[in-house]
Amino acid sequence: MEKGYEEINEKIRKNEAVVMDAEEIIDFVEQNGVKKAVKEVDIVTTATFGPMCSSGVFLNLGHSDPPIRIKKAYLNGVEAYAGIAAVDIYLGATATRDEGYSYGGAHVIQDLIDGKEVELVAEAHGTDCYPRKKLKATITLEGINQAILFNPRNCYQNYAVATNSSDRTIYTYMGKLLPNFGNAAYSTTGQLSPLINDPYYETIGVGTRIFLGGATGYVVSEGTQHNPSIERNMLGIPTGGAATLAVTGNLKEMNSEYLKACSFKNYGTSLYVGIGVPIPILNEKILTHTCIRNKDIITNIYDYSIPRRSRPSLGTVNYEELMSGWITLNGKEVKTGCKSSYAKAKEITKELKKRIEKGEFFIQKPIRRLPLDGKTKPLNRIIGE
């Protein structure tokens, strides 16, 4: 049996679409079988809510009088990239103020969403058409022309587990890692995670409409470091970070419940991004992929005390074990903790389901599939040390 996007959208229009989240579909298929499920279920909602460093926002600030062609720009002391056009800037989530790691671009983004005034300081060399050389002003999200969240790499399809074999505590982007394998940190929301539920990118592609930070957003391309060629298990699930998504949406419509600034000690700032992706149940194969369980998702464990690009794998583990709170590593029981919020992701699957059922959110057929081949390249041609 095959269903089409328009057929499902018609059901959404009539408030007749049957939507389940990526947990509910597992039980439904177990109880009713694949044939009945593919006939009755139209959409499975998936989600993730975790720190996604490769996030940021394009802002158009509006023109002052006299006008300025901005060369350097700072928002609450955080530098934004100004090499675009006169008053267009890009603020990255991980840019931080000079004095430390506790406040960065992610926090400015959250302040803007929360309606706070943000201080803008800008410098320029001055031209005949843009004579102003210095500018100090305040901006608000409402008062500027555009604020377009554009995240080059979000939504990793699986990710490695981090631990620490050394005799000292280390602070990493995977969080605080205690000495002598004192704990292990993992990310991704396992069986709820979007690209885990569509391992061969049959429905998630360029143009897919998604829930992004509380607003409606879109997948604009594969993300940076998209790496789909890595090893997969028998169910086709990559055993480490594989596909990624570049996504965009209107920051003015977002909500800081689903877009939250954070700071990792001795590392820096990042942005927790809430992403929900609807998977249309077009056929049995797509349905079967959405029935993936935590126990069937495998990932590798790496020692983050080795400060190198490639680290040897200490073994593999599945997400059921990770979510149990303990894993066994070299015969030792090691406590686990997650960086992504499963509870929040579950909330997003529910919210997306509600919007679809109310006829407020329609699915979009991708205009291009994400690449199924290709490999991330290293940077080797280093000059000097």
């Binding site: 704990n183 939250k260 997650c338």
Partner: protein, 62 residues
């Protein structure tokens, strides 16, 4: 104590707690804190990316 208005229930703190004072509910996947089990070692405090954990006003056990 955990400031629930800042906490997103990620669980980064859970693996840092040696006494199971911070646990994640197996079903709801939400974090809960048990003051009775907390020994105020403070290992979890700087492990929270949202600054949601503090020792509160009760410093008796420090």
């Amino acid at each position: 104590m955990i400031d629930k208005s800042k906490c997103v229930d990620c669980g980064a703190c859970v693996s840092l707690c040696r006494t199971d004072a911070i646990i994640m509910d197996k079903k709801s996947k939400k974090i809960s804190f048990s003051e009775d089990k907390c020994i105020r070692c403070l290992v979890c405090v700087d492990g929270c990316p949202f600054g949601a954990i503090s020792i509160g006003d009760n410093n008796d056990k420090l």
